[in-house]
């Protein structure tokens, strides 16, 4: 990779971080197009996609979205593998190839996720941050776990990363072979109460369901103003009811206002996230069930046949334009079904693919690994 290309990439990264900080004179559209042209110049696959669409890359709408499947079948990156500093992998069955999102630098990823995470989750300057996930080993391969660790570093002054000792000793990664570590969670709660900070509990929805089972109806009050962030609803069925149900149960058991249970939407193939803006005292404001994108991420529901924006209020596939994806794919087409609402999107599950009409296997069935 030529030095000039690296410099161009670095400059774009700097510009995106400045944009996110509100310190850039460049507009979203201009920056998205600069990144798209940069990627078209350096990624043959994207260049082919641009040619197929007959795109002149002269508007954000004209940037062809890279289907998420491409991340499973090939490398989606401007830079060569030897420059990767992290490779985020999608979860998958043994039959399914894992998608890989390779980053040359995590600076932009960290800056963007911290900036929006603070707006969505933090009503005070700091919190005691714990996660319902196993202690990650390096290199971290899950973008979610990477983000959790970034939140611990940024939001929790007592957190010491990379094997250091926190003072007082506090377990942060509260999930193991036996499920949720309730003792560790209790200790974190006591500490948060003692130093009068809210607790920020980060988790997947699945781990929270497991925690609820372990609690078996017993109340587990969290300190006042605590926030529970959860992500990753069941992707292969509608998650709308599940989200509401999970929120109600968690609020009851943790003795929290339901608005303090905040859903996050993120995916390995993106560098940016979306959140519900329901928590009290935070600057991100929105309704329950509506995922709000930051200024550096645009979501458009598109029809699955022509990939054009659908009529407002109707359901379409989520097309993301993510300025954080400087070195991979600035526009990504997912199979998630969404509807635009109140400045954000509602998540309506996943495009199931065609229903098998003969005895053929539906594409999704392979991914479930059990047909």
């Amino acid at each position: 990779m030529r030095a000039a290309t690296l410099e161009e990439s670095d400059a774009l990264h700097r510009e995106v971080r400045a944009f996110a900080a509100g310190q850039s004179r460049v507009t979203f559209d201009e920056l998205a197009l600069q990144i798209a042209r940069f990627q078209a110049e350096h990624i043959a696959g994207f260049r082919q996609l641009v040619a197929r669409f007959g795109s002149r890359l002269d508007s954000v709408e004209s940037i062809p979205g890279v289907p998420t499947d491409a991340f499973k079948l090939t490398r989606v990156a401007v830079h060569p593998p030897e420059l990767d500093v992290v490779r985020f992998r999608t979860s998958g069955t043994s039959a399914e190839a894992q998608g890989v999102h390779a980053l040359r630098s995590t600076l932009t990823y960290s800056a963007l996720s911290e900036r929006l995470g603070r707006r969505a989750l933090m009503s005070e300057e700091s919190a005691v941050v714990v996660a319902l996930t196993p202690n990650p080993s390096d290199p971290v391969e899950s973008s979610l776990v990477f983000m959790m660790r970034e939140f611990m570093r940024s939001f929790d002054p007592d957190f010491v990363a990379d094997g250091g000792v926190t003072e007082p000793p506090l377990e942060r990664w509260l999930f193991g072979k036996e499920g949720a570590n309730l003792t560790g969670l209790k200790r974190a709660c006591s500490y948060a109460k003692e130093i009068q900070r809210p607790l920020l509990l980060l988790s997947t929805s699945l781990a929270l369901w497991q925690l609820l089972e372990q609690l078996d109806g017993v109340h587990f009050p969290l300190p006042a103003s605590s926030v529970v962030m959860h992500t990753g609803g069941p992707k292969r069925r509608s998650s709308v009811l599940d989200l509401g149900d999970l929120r109600a149960r968690l609020a009851l058991r943790f003795e929290l206002d339901p608005c303090q249970i905040v859903a996050e939407y993120g995916m390995t193939e993106l560098s940016s996230q979306l959140y519900e803006g329901t928590a009290r005292g935070v600057s991100l404001k929105g309704q329950s069930g509506v995922f709000l994108p930051p200024a550096w991420l645009r979501v458009t529901p598109v029809d699955p046949l022509h990939l054009r924006p659908v009529v407002p209020g109707t359901v379409g596939l989520a097309r993301f334009v993510d300025l954080g994806n400087v070195d991979s794919a600035v526009a990504v087409i997912t199979q998630d079904l969404v509807r635009a609402r109140d400045g954000g999107i509602e998540l309506l599950g996943r495009q199931p693919g065609a229903v098998a009409r003969g005895c053929s296997l539906a594409i999704e069935a392979l991914l479930e690994g059990a047909e």
Binding site: L49, P67, L73, V76, R357, C359, L361, A365, L366
Partner: protein, 347 residues
Amino acid sequence: MTPQERVRALVAAAREVTDKDSQVGKRVRAHWLETTGLSPEGIELALENSLEVSPSKAEIEQLIASVPTSKRAWVLLSANVFVGAHRALALALAGSERVLVRVSRRDPVFVAALFEACPGLFEITSELAPAHGDVFWAYGKKDTLRTVQASLPAGVQFLGHGPGAGAALVELSDATPKEMQTQAQGLVLDTVLFEQRGCLSPRGVVVTGSMDEVNRFAECVVAELTSIGKRVPRGELSLDEQADLVRFCDTLTYVGKVFDTEPGIVALSQSTSLSALTPVGRAIHIQHVEEPILPLARIGHVLTSVGFFGSETLRSQLLRALPKVRVTALGKMQRPPFDGPVDLRQR
């Protein structure tokens, strides 16, 4: 009647029912046009290539030997590929004197026509009431099979057949132009039959050889797909099927190279993962690999059939890696011998 007589009676009925000049033949064709998503030419192609109306004596003996015997057998049919009911009935009749069939709501006409053509050979029922000692053949989705199996009384032998997919393995090293063309023809025929909606339909193709050989093979496949498209128009695709094709096309444009044909898509890549099964509707993904067995073995749990061209050594490796998969010549994937269930995964 002996098992041989029962199977032969069914085969004769199938011949009669699918005679295109008969009244019943016209009736079933009109129905299939509505339900299968195939063009009239696609229906004829499937009848010609995939409905077994002239099995050999040896095949029938093998078919009989492949099934358990019982006095009574039940058959729960699903909306399978439209000729699928024939083999399903043959299997039950091969093992049992009394056969009761519950037809699919979406495709009741073929079985009803067979019933009319040979009254008394089997019964059509809306109630399934198996008892100890019966054999129960079930076809359908995995969830359906699980539910049905759980509901059966003790002592009923359950034989479930779920959905599946086929794949192809082509070893091109030193293949002659003629061989390449023949293999491309076979692959395209297997693909076009049922528009890839069958559990034997190829949904991925792994190919070994030089880059030049693979490119030439892809060009042969494009030519064959274009050619057959003129004789056998593609049937209608649902909106979801069309959307799957769009996604496939965009993905493979990024990942490799896409050749548009009318109708259909041929893509060429060096991806080694078969996890992205091609969608239905004449989509062929040729994956140029160095080691072809591993990608197939990874999805072995869903594979019913592999269309094969290559050396005996490679064939042996394939059979060792996938012992429950039918390995056939390309062009014959959709016409496995009439020697038992098409899907051997239950054995």
